[in-house]
């Protein structure tokens, strides 16, 4: 391998340089040079092979190719893989069948590919089967062999499951491809709550009362959603069981009953209620019993979010004059302010699943952006900038991604980014306002 160290001794690493190169005596076209510089790669190089064409259903859609495409998208979205496209492989990737992987290991190994997935679809009647096997290339060792059963409508779900299996086998961490995102969408003047797959597909209406429904929050077991609804005119707090469809009104005091947060054990809800004096945080059991106050006073105290160990609550208060982020013990004691001098004001705190960061929204130079701060008040990091207003962050369960609302393309839409602010991409494109997202466990 030729070393550039000698050729470019001392030249322009990490810098931008322009080099003037006259092509010849008769051409004055300038040739500029840009340096692209990288240190050690951190991602897992993975190849996807198999997934031959497989036509299925009355329309005869090619679900085999679709499945391979969904898997590529899922693995790219996971943010920890370098997915090698088939055109960069020295063989025809779709020609490799399950059980024929031995023949490609040497070639993959020489390409420094670390893992390979071999997959295919098959069917029996209306049943659709997805088979996926994962291999570690260097040793040729099979790490996983799974078969998923479903039908045409559940193809995406089956592939998401396979993705999570791959992520788990290679990293030991639970993947998020099977997770879902609850959010509010404006429909004909109403604001309804929907749940969609993490990649924006398969939206399902959860409320449908043609009223205003806000602040959906998943229970830690992913089976219920707490939300505020104006269904009965007053903004009341509800919990809906997604399996049974049963809805329970858990708080309906006159005034606001808003912005719920579940305790990590799923037993408690923190939320805000208002009266003539102020808006304060309360804690109740998930069925509304056992109500007790967390804050008292004439100020506005809203937007609670529990620490992953359930011992602390981060929230938003204007007790100091402007809205800022505060932390308190779950008993309502030991209140301390977290944000100082981060923009004009700070709202919408969400504690990360790993506990090491709080995401929040700061108003900086007139627009709203998403920032991170450590629970000790240090290490402020701005994740969005120069892209409209960016608000309402919510973490994926692995703490690797954040979903948020942005107006960068005009109306409010949901976007996803890596937790370091990289790879920001749009999630909703249905022509409505989409906002107030909450990522499922």
């Amino acid at each position: 391998m030729r070393s550039l160290r000698g050729a470019h001794r001392g030249v322009w690493l990490l810098t931008l340089a322009a080099v003037l190169v006259p092509l010849s005596a008769w051409s004055a076209e300038e040739k500029f040079t840009i340096d692209i510089y990288k240190k050690e790669a951190q991602k897992i190089a993975i190849a996807i092979v198999g997934f031959p064409s497989f036509r299925f259903g009355v329309k005869g859609e090619d679900l085999g190719t679709q499945a391979g495409g969904i898997l590529v998208d899922d693995l790219k979205n996971a943010g920890i893989f370098d997915v090698i496209e088939p055109s960069f492989l020295p063989f025809e990737a779709t020609q490799v069948g399950v059980g024929q992987e031995r023949g490609i290991m040497a070639a993959l190994n020489s390409l420094k590919v670390q893992a390979v997935v071999v997959g295919k679809l098959s069917s029996r009647g209306n049943e659709l089967f997805l088979e996926g096997q994962l291999f570690e290339v260097a040793r040729g060792e099979r790490l996983s062999a799974k078969r998923y059963v479903g039908d045409q409508r559940t193809l995406r779900t089956m592939v998401h499951r396979l993705t999570d299996e791959i992520v788990f086998r290679l990293t030991g961490e639970k993947g998020t491809a099977s997770s879902r995102i609850a959010h509010v969408s404006s429909v004909d003047g109403a604001k309804e709550i929907y749940v969609m797959d993490y990649d924006g597909h398969n939206p399902v209406l959860i409320t449908g009362n043609r009223s205003i429904n806000l602040s959906p929050r998943w229970s830690p077991d992913g089976k219920k959603i707490a939300y505020t609804s104006y269904r009965d005119q007053n903004p009341d707090l509800f919990v809906v069981n997604l399996e049974s469809g049963r809805r329970q009104k858990v708080s309906s005091s006159p005034g606001l009953n808003i912005a719920p947060a579940w305790s990590p054990d799923g037993e408690w809800l923190a939320f805000s209620m208002s009266n003539d004096r102020g808006t304060n945080l309360f804690l109740s059991r998930a069925d509304g019993t056992g109500l007790r106050p967390l804050t008292l006073g004439p100020h506005i105290n809203v937007s609670p979010s529990f620490s992953p160990n359930g011992r602390q609550v981060v929230f938003n208060s204007d007790r100091g004059g402007t809205p800022q982020i505060y932390v308190m013990d779950v008993e309502g004691t030991n209140v301390r302010r977290l944000t100082f001098g981060v923009g004009e004001y700070s709202v919408s705190p969400r504690w990360s699943p790993r506990g090491d960061k709080v995401a929040f929204v700061g108003r900086l130079h007139g627009s709203f952006d998403i920032l991170l701060i450590s629970p000790d008040g240090t290490g402020v990091l701005q994740l969005t900038s120069n892209s409209g207003n960016n608000e309402e962050p919510s973490w994926s369960s692995d703490g690797r991604h954040i979903v948020f609302t942005s107006t960068r393309n005009g109306r409010r839409d949901l976007y996803i980014m890596n937790a370091d602010g990289s790879n920001q991409r749009r999630l909703t494109k249905n022509g409505r306002d989409n906002y107030l997202a909450d990522w499922s466990p």
Binding site: R2, A17, V21, I36, Y37, K38, E40, K43, A45
Partner: protein
């Protein structure tokens, strides 16, 4: 015979300097070099023409790294980054002739 003279950004048209930062950011973000030995330094030079729209033409590897995988990773980065940002209005020519120097520096173990 090709003469090569280094010019710092400060001597370049400011509109182009900013454009180069955009191009550099985009391609750097899309480049995942393969795993290589600790302390390895390797690079590949690619030249291309950028049309006003940001589309890429006349892509060529000027100097291979000698490692096809590294060369391919640079071409992938470019493909993932296309279209590049449109040429700045203040730059009057129809195309911009550019060389990209991809350099990988493995961290020392």
């Amino acid at each position: 015979m090709v003469a090569e003279t280094g010019v710092t950004v400060g001597n370049t048209d400011p509109a182009l300097a900013y454009y180069f930062v955009l191009v550099q950011d985009k391609i750097t973000g899309n480049w995942t070099p393969p795993k290589m030995g600790p302390g390895t330094t390797a690079g590949v030079n690619v030249s291309l023409r950028i049309l006003r729209s940001g589309q890429v033409r006349d892509l060529a590897v000027d100097a291979s790294s000698g490692d096809r995988i590294l060369d391919d990773s640079a071409l992938r980065a470019l493909r993932l980054s296309t279209p590049l940002p449109p040429l700045p209005p203040l730059f009057k020519a129809e195309t911009l002739y550019l060389q990209l120097r991809f350099t990988f520096v493995g961290e020392k173990s």
